[in-house]
Symmetry: C2
Subunit: 360 residues, 2 copies
């Protein structure tokens, strides 16, 4: 079985025509992270203040150092964009090194759409540093807008971005400036597990479609609806909030005790921000549990409506994978694959668009 398909093998970058800049350099603009560049316990990035994450629970404290939702944005006329990086990788049988520790790059095409041009692929052992380059196939060389998505499941030990020497680089904001980011809170599914590539997590797909920035506060296995998290989120500047921790609440009773309280804390501080409540997408795998949790979240939504909330929305998780072959939308029964995430992006994106249009 030791016969090799060259397409499946990592290749080391060997070029001396490139110059590299730290991703925290002012040449780049970073989105989706609370902090980037201050080295903290195996990662240069944090998604929320570490002292608050520490208070929430140890799992949130740990996963706070993963780069989920992090993006590096810039404009360059370089015909090649390279990275050299070392990440603190996660391990799991249900995701690949690319899925957990890879990067992907999207370039704005002439039709105005950010289109994926390449994936930066870690080594088979994702704990090893790696470098990779992508040469663009454009016939006209001109400044182009680019987004590099950072790994959804890995901390960043270092990340440098390379361009052909002498190329222009400028920071880029590819997002609407008239609207604050969307904030997502939830479980591993929210964090992006197990999209095949970072940019295929549902938040990224939605963001490329609606051109709105976002913050990914998904904490694999550890989103338990704590009040400290609710208070932190309540204080964020945001255009909408997506609440989904169905899978991580330790029991329906706990879910019931925390769900409305979480919503209420965010709502009280943000009277006009649309709040979208979501339940698990893979409910068919364990319908008894899924329906119990569904009833809790639905009840919370009904309470909010009854209390006069005109900016609250509910998505029944059973609808997230659609009616056609929902059974094959996960990699392991729990985590969406790229088909599952794509369908989630369609359903959630539509509700978000509607909610943002109809804000009251």
């Amino acid at each position: 079985m030791e016969v090799v398909d060259e397409n499946l093998v990592y290749k080391e970058l060997e070029r001396d025509d490139l110059e590299f800049f730290d991703f925290t350099d002012a040449k780049f603009k970073i989105f989706g992270l609370y902090e980037a560049g201050e080295y903290f316990n195996e990662s240069l990035v944090k998604r929320m203040p570490q002292d608050i994450a520490d208070k929430v629970n140890p799992g949130v404290a740990g996963h706070n150092r993963s780069a989920a939702g992090g993006r590096v944005c810039f404009i360059t006329d370089s015909p090649t964009v390279a990275i050299t990086t070392k990440v603190a990788p996660p391990h799991g049988a249900n995701f690949s090194p690319i899925s957990g520790s890879g990067y992907d790059i999207f370039v704005k095409e002439d039709d105005g759409k950010f289109t994926r041009k390449s994936v930066y692929r870690p080594k088979e052992d994702p704990s090893l540093p790696y470098s990779a380059a992508f040469g663009f196939d454009y016939t006209v060389i001109k400044p182009r807008e680019m987004i590099i998505n950072m790994p959804n499941y890995a901390g960043i030990e270092y990340l440098k971005i390379g361009v052909v020497k002498g190329s222009s680089i400028e920071p880029l904001n590819p997002y609407r400036t008239d609207i604050d980011p969307i904030v997502y809170y939830g479980s591993s599914i929210t964090q992006g597990g197990c999209a095949g590539t970072p940019g295929n997590a549902y938040e990224n797909i939605i963001s490329r479609r609606n051109n709105i920035d976002f913050v990914n506060l998904g904490f694999s296995g550890n989103a338990r609806g704590e009040q400290a998290m609710a208070e932190y989120i309540a204080g964020l500047k945001m255009s909408a909030f997506v609440l989904d921790y169905d899978h991580n609440a330790p029991g329906a009773v706990h879910y019931s005790k925390t769900h409305y309280a979480f919503y209420k804390t965010v709502r009280d501080a943000n009277p006009n921000v649309p709040i979208i409540m979501i339940t698990r997408p893979n409910g068919r795998v364990d319908p008894v549990s899924a329906n119990m949790y569904l009833a809790v979240a639905k009840g919370s939504y009904e309470c909010a409506k009854a209390a006069g909330d005109k900016n609250v929305y509910f998505i029944n998780g059973f609808d997230l994978f659609g009616d056609e072959d929902p059974d094959i939308c996960t990699v392991d029964g729990t985590h969406p694959n790229d088909l599952g995430f794509y369908r989630m992006a369609e359903v959630i994106g539509k509700v978000l668009d509607e909610a943002l249009k109809n804000r009251k």
Copy 2:
């Protein structure tokens, strides 16, 4: 980063109420494999005669021992189905242990549809043996039809299937008996790289839809259109043949020299078998090369038509991912993710259905 999401972790099977049977036991029926049970160089399975594979090239000789397209089918009233297995796993940054070395199980529901009920997940190190069980959630216990898909990228050192002691087990043929299998020949994409789970490779999706058996002759990195392979395939009993080795032909000249000859060898021996020619699904990544190969295959198709062939079909690979976000349909630019495979299954499945209906 050492905080664990329990959903991402392998759990060892610990039950003593199960009895296990070798997958080659007469209680099961095996589909998609030429041979299963004769131990040969790290794998019990072969997809074609090893002596012919050896003649084709060393890559085909090696990948012939992977279980791509292999299925174990049976009827049981057991409320749990377990496996214990050791595989000769592949390695790649672009697939997960589940993707390369996992199994999945589909059960026929009351609506007549085979529905995925669970995934059997290898350990993080997929070279280690593992055991896993899935307990069904049915309230009525009765004999049910089941398909276990074998790993697309791994050889099988052993595989035993377990049921609750005393349960019934009978071999099952879940496929139409009035029609021969469909044969697919091609590259890693045909082999199933990099579907998230074995059953999400496009051939499996099509087979569950049209209830027709199939043989997967995808040879990662090594499908070069050799005449010896064409002659072997020409001798198979089949209802349709899908020809796709675009990605592995070493250059457009080689492709041009072998493509029509391959087709002609299969056609001469099978005058009425629909032959579907396909080009690479991810042509947008490297359109110059993709269009060159496309021209070759299209030319081959036009020649076949001009020679009076009424059972030949052509699928332009650029259509396989559709028009909406084709850029995010791969895991690495080359290999389809589950979104990509799903879209391929729709396009190829439709052409196959049409071709089988209109056979002349």
